[in-house]
Amino acid sequence: MDINSNKYTYIFSIIMVVVVAAMLSYAAISLKPAQDANIELEKKQEILSSINVIVTREEAGEAFDKYIKSSLVIRNGEVVENPTQPAFEIDMATAASLPSAEREVPLFVANVDGKEFYIIPMRGKGLWGPVWGNLSLEKDGNTVYGASFGHKGETPGLGAEISTALFSGQFVGKKIMDQGNFVSIAVIKAKPSTDHEVQGISGGTITSVGVESMLKDCLSPYVDYLKTLGQAAPAAAPVMDTVNVEVSSL
């Protein structure tokens, strides 16, 4: 048969496409469970690192069940009773693309050594691609207990420094509210002088600004809920079997 005839070329292409498609589908489907498990564990690992629980990806599943006691879905400051998706499965990239008032966003409630923390996942834009993070608040819904940040492809040595403890450690003890009003935390160039500022990365200005607007944007849907935490015994708070922590001393 003439391998350069049209008929042969068509037959060859069709067979090739079918064989390759079948092979790739098989590879994709058979490896999917292992890949999904990796992604889920990584998400748990990142959530845990914001409450200063540092575990390897392998340990993340177990540690997550140990520390994260419950999760809520928040919409415009109120707990959603029947969310369309469970909190853990909410994709922050999709959620963050909606207007603030329409988002259904997850809130994880952690319990570390009897202390209660609220973890807020965040997602925003850096210089080259998405940046994300988790911010944990103390029981007053105001004071930052810990933060962790990640990025897709910020410049190594510059913007990529947001994922180091040197940067995220600055958030500890900062406050997102000022006299009951939401002010978020600014990422500034100078040395921080108030409780609502941290120092940005020199040479990573666009990434720093991205983190700042991510904080503001992603915290705002929670503000009304967090305010209720500041007052005693919020009605919508989950039932927890924990010791009450003295908030005013923090």
Partner: protein, 223 residues
């Protein structure tokens, strides 16, 4: 197989010609330093040694297997769509490699990110199929793919070692420069942050080319 192949004398598995296919790409025909192919990825993923090694292994698997497959099919591939067929072969293999990395070495696969996918566009690969595998038997083609990807891999590894040692003070994530030397700990030492940036990889590749050409005068172009 075709008549053209039959007329050639049968060579041993590791005959002189076949050994040369493996060894030439290390030095005289190195894809990176002599043919200047695959530069993009060698700049991008050599900040640390581990991703450089994984990239080298991935390229090795893809090049060797797709050279082999292209060579197996070489008498069946219609001439007019041969580049498309070569692309499909390499793209399919790259996707399989990417899926395997995502499933079993997730952290490294994140570091390599788009560059695994970009193996497809690595000129070394298409160059080898078009220039070698389309016209040679299966075994020499596999050796040729192996040799070229090893030639690519050793450059990556050398650049990776230099960049990780000078840029981060470690090798394979193990600390080489003691913590106490660092200025932040009261010492005198700073990491060279320039080494983390891609341009320094180009300069290291340039230095390798310099050393190589000063040792092999045959490689120097006539002015």
């Amino acid at each position: 197989m075709s008549t053209a192949d039959k007329s050639k004398p049968k060579a041993g598995l590791f005959s002189k010609e076949n050994r040369k296919l493996l060894s030439d790409p290390f030095n005289m025909q190195n894809p990176v330093t002599v043919q200047v192919l695959g530069i993009c990825s060698s700049l991008a993923i050599t900040v640390k040694l581990q991703p450089a090694i994984v990239m080298g292994v991935s390229v090795l698997a893809v090049t060797a297997f797709s050279n082999l497959i292209t060579s197996l099919l070489r008498n069946l591939i219609p001439n007019r769509i041969r580049i498309i067929v070569q692309l499909v072969v390499v793209a399919a293999l790259v996707i399989v490699v990417d899926q395997i990395l995502k499933a079993y070495v997730y952290d490294v696969s994140k570091q390599l990110s788009v560059f695994v996918g970009l193996i497809i566009t690595n000129c070394i690969l298409m160059g080898r199929y078009e220039a070698f595998a389309m016209g040679n038997k299966v075994w020499p083609s596999a050796l040729d793919g192996l040799g070229n990807s090893l030639g690519y891999a050793w450059i990556l590894v050398v650049v990776g070692i230099v960049r990780e040692l000078t840029g981060s003070g470690s090798i394979m994530g193990l600390r080489i420069i003691p913590e106490s030397w660092y200025a932040t700990e009261g010492g005198f030492y700073f990491n060279n942050n320039m080494m983390i940036l891609p341009p320094m990889a180009l300069i290291i590749v340039g230095i390798i080319i310099w050393i190589q050409r000063s040792r092999n005068t045959k490689l120097i172009e006539q002015a």
